[in-house]
Symmetry: D2
Subunit: 295 residues, 4 copies
């Protein structure tokens, strides 16, 4: 299969379940909501070494938020046990402390709910208040009053959606990946948790050549500079640089939509020469996103 | 004392020691270095609930970096034991995985050094390489080769530099705080770890009114909306909003310089009515930054 | 009438016809399309002193552009005679010369069309090419080939949509205006041509106190700092700062939608105290946008 | 000569005199100064079709501006007669109307001065005021009072500093040009007037193949896609994309410094394969900037 003349590999991305919660952060302007959202979703690229995986899902206009202010929607992904803890910590440390922000439950219809008890921060100066039909707490702080919800929904979503953008030089692969990441930003229900939405260094579990325990090492099969040294290399001939886009979504449909949008954008960048995806031959995850069926 | 007609409180900020390391992140353009630096310094506002305190110190031109590429300098602050761990994790998860980045030791002259052994990620495909006189490792990854240093210096710096920007309305206090935060960004040796460099909700240790253990609650003495309910309020009459700027610096001089730059900028914003600072009456920290002596 | 507790003046904005063309600029990423669009819409705040009025209407995803690349839509507004000239100049100088851009007719259904003959730049090295069903020219340039349309539509739209955001201090009025400008950016069919979408200095035609010819002077009726000196002042008591949002739209409905979105956003900013609008008592323009009927 | 392994052509850039004025725009924060500066320097890429050439020279901290607020410095370049007119128009339309801005003479020591009489806008409500030792006018406007200087200096500077960034693919050449443009932004005394600081389409005076009068057409000697059709092509073998960086500076030294900084940055981008420069064989301009002598 080809898209805009670029071959699309006959393969699939393999995904697996992950729990996630959506937090809506509003601010006096989008800029201030975004400042808080950026801090709250930092240090959250991969669950291997970060406390969670998180990213900005998209922007919300005042019509789309409970308090009528501009907002930023984020997704926080981890184990079922860790999602509440991470939502709590990231709101308490990064959003409650940020200028002009409020937070709202971005999954009000989710069956699974949890409560973050942030109102204790008020030391009994807090009070209940309803905003846009939501039960919130108003907590006196230095800037004035912080207002936000405490009960959040979470769903079992999908992690590991992915595809590779390849080219015969690094700058082209990078621009292809950037175009893809930008396009995915427009898709609701999906995030890319890595910096800039792009992964420059893929990993495999454990090591082949080091004998001591190590959680992850470079995935040499996808490393262009050692292509000649790796007998089972998966780097196509002529490819000199690969970036991976890794996607978490609230459901399979969102991941598919994000993958499709990203790939369509990447192949428009002149010089992008091949699109593939990573999987564990179906051994790891229950979700298979066949590239050929995305479009 | 007054500055641009704004009264400067006759008080001091109280600081205490904190260990910190400077990591220089370079990229193919500043934008890409900044993307990685932003991810690496996220979820790092306050050591109370985050794994560390971190922030972007400033931009570096190609003339100022070991590899001649544009860079972003970050500071990562924590206990002496946790700094190496956090530098390791944040580089491994947020920078090594980011597009086009390299990392370098930003404190080559520090006596205290540590080693982050990131080259094991190469699974023996890595090799040593010298860049700008620095001993680096070259690790094959998907985008090409990652190059970076592994040995970093750390110093015992100063946390808790701070001042308050006050006004009779929230938007004015916010713009004053923003102007301050922008000005501090230009000062080398200092960071503001909170989102946007601004703290909207100050805290006190423990609680007064809740009887169960809780690490921190709102600092009601600085809450304008409950000024009438708090007998020992420190909110000046007429003040309706307060933002705090919290500064960590590599030494006392950097914190002083950052405080001075920030306050000078804040008082230029029309409507900012009072500048003060927070302390524990000298009981907690060995450093006292008297506002009157900053200028 | 009140909105979020803020009084909305019982008045109307007065608009008048203006010709305008929509140019779609695409680029390899949105960033590069935006760089060109920003240059092309600069020096275009007011037809009084600028060659035209222009602004960025909004972003387009790859699904919304003829060539499948991300885009930025701009509107260029002037007299019927000047629109073709300004579209020509701004494309030739600011977009053709910019990196990775293409331009497309953003009003393919308009009855009124014009032709900008940009292909002569190719000095007979150019050729015709079809992109997304559009008849384009391909012109060899340094970066590779420039591709773009030459025939553009234009419509008689509406200029002069406006409202005032008022507060008892400047920073609050400014943040209210900024929130409004951000909200209007989301409305298709409308632009705000002034810097940042905000007007800080309103004007009246001619002068009252200077006797020599002068095209425009400050509108003293809306100047808070001389409120006491101007008998017919329109500054409400207590108001210390006013910003105006001026809107051009492709039709009356777009202007109304933009005004409504902007006002709804402005009144959410704490401290914004009054919303009004400017008119010439119905003497100048055929369009009257009553604030009370917008919602 | 080589730089970072990239051949630097044995040629020179040819420059010629141009008059220019520096305007310092300050704002309540850098963001607001930048918003005005961006509008004021738009539609100003090339004097061929724009009313002037203009660009942002750099950022100024509060310590570097007359009023102690953060600022943005711009250069406006044109004929000696047109500089005053363009400074007047761009300040009046784009800065006076923008939020929170002031303007100051950025060339107080220039022998050549001009006066823009902007205070007539005040319709006799204006008054004189001194700011930072500068004689300014205070004009009542809607947001409050506008304050700014009216007398500006101008100097005979240098236009036409330039170099070409070449690569075997477009994305690499683009990133090389972007790195160069970023680096030049840090050099005081120089601007790049084109969108993003980058020129994608070079031109020659007049036409070769069209017989009617036309001011400029594509410079086919530097067009990679028609390399085989142009006997006197200057496109090196293997080069598929070229971007030009065009620089105006206040003097020869500034242009040299900017060219050096830009070229040094460009050659760090992986894949950039050749650097050259454009000239008219010394027939046009009195300034020759030999690439080999820049470093």
């Amino acid at each position: 299969m080809e898209l805009n003349g670029v071959p699309i590999d006959n393969t699939f991305a393999e995904g697996f379940p992950i729990w996630m919660s959506r937090v809506i952060i509003t601010g006096v302007t989008r800029e201030w909501a975004l400042i808080a959202a950026t801090e709250a979703t930092g240090f959250a690229t991969s669950a291997i070494g970060c406390p969670c995986e998180a990213g900005i899902e998209g922007y919300l206009s005042g019509d789309e938020t409970p308090d009528g202010r501009p907002g930023v929607s984020i997704l926080i992904c981890a184990s079922k046990k860790k999602v509440p803890e991470q939502v709590m910590e990231r709101i308490a440390e990064c959003v409650l402390t940020a200028a002009t922000t409020s937070v709202f439950n971005g999954m009000p219809d989710a069956e699974e709910k949890f409560d973050i008890k942030i109102h204790f921060f008020g030391d009994k100066f807090e009070s209940k208040v309803e905003v846009g039909g939501r039960q919130c707490w108003k907590i006196p702080i230095m800037e004035g009053d912080y207002v936000g919800e405490e009960v959040f929904g979470m769903v079992k979503g999908v992690a590991g959606g992915n595809f590779f953008v390849m080219a015969d030089n690094q700058m082209t692969a990078l621009m292809g990946a950037k175009a893809a990441s930008d396009a995915i930003f427009e898709v609701r229900g999906a995030i890319t948790s890595f910096a800039g939405g792009i992964v420059a260094s893929g990993s495999k579990v454990g090591a082949k050549n080091y004998k001591f325990p190590i959680p992850a090492t470079t995935n040499e099969q996808y490393c262009p500079t050692i292509r000649e040294k790796v007998p089972d290399t998966k780097v196509p001939e002529g490819v000199k640089s690969i970036y991976e886009i890794v996607i978490n979504g609230v459901d399979e449909a969102s991941v598919k939509k994000a993958m499709a949008a990203g790939i369509k954008a990447a192949v428009m960048v002149p010089g992008v020469s091949f699109i593939s995806a990573g999987n564990y031959e179906g051994k790891l995850g229950p979700f298979q996103f066949k590239l050929a069926e995305l479009f």
